[in-house]
């Protein structure tokens, strides 16, 4: 069971880690969903036609990152409202992938490819033999390991490098950063572009797992990843834990469907609902924490 949870958590984790950078840079990135969808479509289209997964992944990352870069630039340099621009990305992703699907493959439904390459399944030699870690490191797609690897890398980038310092300073006091000669706009654009890269990976992992492209394949995962950032206290390892938790909840829901026969359409509502509840609980606890802190003055 833990094995499936790890598979399910991967797209959340990837998108969440990228979104973490924008969040720390002071930008609430509501475009994760759209960027992930763009990635998923590009990955399926390129890998499906070329038969090469790597090419598909590169395309997903490239196109998704480009979209992120363009939207960030439009928002920050043309002084467009960042939420509206991000909303436009989400809407354009829905409509745009549909048009592209029609133009390229003549359908707007599910796109299946003959001989879609299947994802290799990898085990990590030493780690997979440790009982506790077994499910984390046995028979997973490369994306799982990429996501795992990105957790410490993100932590390192944020906490130990100048870039991470700029990202945090951009979010905490961008004027201070500006007076020190660092263009905070560039840092923010870069952070959003990073989220485009990881969302591209997340989308690719979704499409490759299915071996096809399904409209609305992301079904809110970008939003859930966004909430996971908050719930994970804006820290890479926190995002990891929350992604794990959400994945477990989703698996539970899927199993419930199998057992109790809950209808499929209701299942689509479940992730949103559980995330909503999670968010409420988190903010209530956080508010309580702040109140206690206020009381415990020195």
């Amino acid at each position: 069971m833990l094995h499936s949870i790890v598979e399910i958590m991967t797209p959340f984790l990837l998108a969440g880690l990228g979104g973490l950078f924008t969040e720390r840079a002071g930008v609430l990135n509501i475009a994760l969903e759209g960027l992930m969808l763009i990635g998923a479509f590009s990955a399926a289209a390129v890998a499906g036609t070329s038969g090469n997964l790597l090419l598909g992944t590169v395309a997903a990352v490239g196109i998704s990152a480009t979209a992120a870069y363009l939207y960030a630039t439009a928002a920050l340099h043309l002084k467009a409202n960042i939420f509206i621009a991000a909303l436009a990305v989400n809407l354009l992703a829905i409509g745009g992938t549909q048009i592209a699907a029609h133009l390229l493959f003549g359908t707007k439904g599910v796109i299946e490819f003959a001989g879609f390459p299947s994802l290799p399944s990898i085990s990590i030699p030493l780690l997979s033999s440790i009982p506790v870690f077994k499910d984390f490191f046995t028979d997973h797609s490369p994306f799982v390991y990429i996501a795992f690897l990105l957790v410490p890398i993100s932590a390192w980038l944020l906490n130990a490098t100048p870039f991470g310092m700029y990202v945090k300073a951009a979010g905490l006091n961008s004027t201070a950063l500006f007076t020190r000669g660092v263009a905070e706009q560039k840092i923010k654009v870069l952070a959003i572009t990073i989220s485009g890269i990881t969302c591209g990976l997340a989308g690719a992992s979704l499409s490759f797992n299915l071996g096809a492209y399904v409209p609305n394949i992301t079904s809110g995962r970008g939003w859930i990843a966004l909430v996971a950032i908050f719930l994970g206290y804006k820290r890479p390892y926190g995002v990891f834990l929350v992604a794990l938790l959400f994945a477990a909840a989703e698996l539970a829901a899927q199993n419930a469907q199998g057992i109790a026969g809950a209808p499929a359409s209701l299942l689509l509502a479940f992730p949103f609902f559980i995330t909503f509840i999670g968010m409420i609980i988190f903010s209530a606890l956080h508010a309580l924490f702040l109140r206690l802190q206020e009381k415990n003055r020195y």
Binding site: P162, M165, A169, T175, L177, T179, G181, V182, N296, R297
Partner: protein, 533 residues
């Protein structure tokens, strides 16, 4: 390295219609200490913000040894070796002192990690050299303004600039016997730094600088060697010939007896207020009892306040003064209801108002003019009328509907009474700073408040604006209202208050009668040298 020429610098701010610099020409010579003096709003800070890349001029150029420089951002200024310590230092409060110093100039190891050890040893050397003691591992939010300025200066030294601009550097070191600032400046000079001091304090300019430039009304007036100039000559240049020198007089270090002697216009009313109204009051309008504020552990946004007690009688103007970060800000937030005290009480006309909603305080005729005029005191994106009716809109409605004619009558009345040069329909951000102040003051005063909390009254105002404000304060007290003036400016406190409460490290360090003290005495109280209980 070389001489810097500012050529024909012109800057206009469309948002408040002010031409901050018009065709300013100025030469900064290599290795000198150059003071730029001028009153508030004379354009000296704007000029230096342009040199440091913070803002771009509309016209003009910056040259080094005759060659034009491209300075469009602080980044490009720093590249040219030009850096500025801003009056309000911008820090990342959550970072440590060390991180704040190296921000933008981090040394890194070959694999990209920040090399903190290397940074630390370099900074320690600078701290030793310039005697700027500071704990590098403290979070920046724990620092006082003095510490923040130290960080800013260390950051510039660390970044390796050659030209250092200091905006009002002496606000902290004023009347400090040890004169740390002087030693730092001398040290910097001996290391061949070129220094530019922005100040409105003439003594400071003449004392520290080699040359001094005077600015007035956005224009460059003249540049002199400091040894060729007396203080009174300089102040004449600074204020301009159209004013007689009584005001500049108060600025000087000549000890004052009674401030009334030097005060124009408002003086008679102030003194009548003092004699006429004090004994009549049924009791104090405002009474603080051991008012205490302890900041939360991780959010020391405001300094602590310790057991502050004082009273304000009807008809009295009481000033609370002190150096920044000694509790004035906190007191303002507590009195205005924006902050809850940790313990102690605030009594207004005998009943406790601590913890009451701002709405209730307002409805009980407590007026408040905040330090943050433009952020808290005004809504710049709303119309003048919408700003004017903030406290009175409930008077104009029937069944929830606002009555247009009554509003027009009200706003027209304010406009006339307070000589506001704008139509009520204008967007507030389009008005000049002085007019915006008038809108705020008119709104707060029109309801004849019983208590006015007035923070930094003459802040950002020219001489006429100051007089207008002092007149209004005197008018209020003469009608029996109490006024609490929270100010970091001793002269202002002496000019418009009957008594002065001096704060030091969050506690009251003395309450004095204005007519019985002089400025140096208050200065000593502010610095904690003396204590009067």
């Amino acid at each position: 390295m070389g001489n810097i020429d500012l050529v024909d610098i012109t800057k206009y701010f469309p948002e408040n219609g002010v031409t901050a610099n018009s065709a300013v020409n100025l030469r900064i010579e290599e290795g000198e200490i150059h003071a730029i003096v001028g009153e508030n709003g004379s354009g000296k800070s704007t000029l230096m913000h342009i040199l440091s890349g913070l803002i771009r001029p509309d016209k003009g150029s910056i040259r080094m040894n005759g060659k034009a420089l491209r300075i469009n951002s602080p980044h490009e200024a720093l590249e040219q070796g030009i850096g500025m310590v801003y009056q309000h230092v911008q820090l990342v409060r959550e970072f440590t002192v060390l991180e704040n110093i190296i921000l933008g100039r981090e040394p890194r190891t070959w694999w990209g990690r920040i090399n903190a050890a290397q940074a630390r040893s370099r900074i320690q050397a600078l701290i030793q050299e310039y005697n700027l003691q500071i704990d590098l591992d403290r979070p920046a939010y724990e620092l006082s303004t003095e510490g923040e300025q130290k960080i800013a200066l260390l950051a510039l030294l660390y970044a390796g600039v050659n030209y250092i601009i200091l905006d009002e550097p002496a606000t902290l070191f004023e009347e400090d016997e040890t004169d740390l600032l002087h030693r730092v400046l001398e040290k910097l000079r001996s290391h061949n730094y070129t220094l530019i001091l922005i100040t409105h304090k003439l003594r400071e300019a003449l004392h520290y600088a080699d040359r001094v430039s005077v600015m007035r009304g956005g224009r460059w007036i003249s540049t002199h060697f400091t040894h060729e100039l007396s203080q009174s000559e300089l102040s004449n240049l600074m204020v301009g010939s159209e004013y007689k020198f009584d005001h500049g007089h108060t600025h000087r270090h000549t000890p004052q007896q009674a401030p009334e002697n030097t005060l124009p216009a408002a003086t008679p009313t102030v003194s009548t207020a003092k004699t006429a109204h004090k004994p009549e009051g049924p009791g104090p309008i405002l009474k603080l009892q051991n008012l205490t504020y302890r900041p939360a552990v991780n959010s020391a946004a405001l300094p602590a306040l310790k057991e502050v007690s004082f009273e304000v009688q009807p008809g009295e103007a009481l000033a609370v003064t002190g150096i920044r970060e000694n509790g004035l800000e906190t007191l303002e937030q507590l009195l205005s209801g924006f902050l809850l005290p940790s313990s102690g009480d605030i009594l207004y006309k005998g009943s406790s108002i601590a913890g009451r909603s701002i709405r209730e305080l307002r409805s009980r005729r407590i007026a408040y003019i905040p330090t943050e005029r433009m952020l808290r005191g005004a809504s710049l994106d709303s119309s003048v009328a919408e700003n004017m009716i903030l406290l009175n809109y409930r008077d104009f409605h029937g069944w929830g509907r606002l009555k247009k004619e009554e509003i027009e009558h009200f706003t027209g009345n304010l406009k006339q009474q307070f000589n506001i040069k704008a139509s009520p329909k204008d967007r507030l951000s389009g008005l000049s700073g002085g007019n915006i102040q008038r809108v705020i003051i008119s709104r707060e005063i029109i309801n004849s408040p019983q208590l006015l909390i007035f923070s930094e009254p003459s802040w950002g105002l020219d001489i006429t604006g100051r007089e207008f404000v002092f007149e209004k304060i005197a008018e209020l007290t003469s009608r029996g209202s109490a006024v609490v003036i929270i100010t970091s400016d001793i002269e202002e406190a002496l000019e418009c208050a009957d008594r002065i409460v001096v704060m030091y490290r969050g506690a009251v360090n003395g309450i004095v009668q204005t007519d019985l003290v002089d400025k140096p005495a208050i200065g000593r109280l502010m610095l904690g040298v003396d204590t009067h209980a």
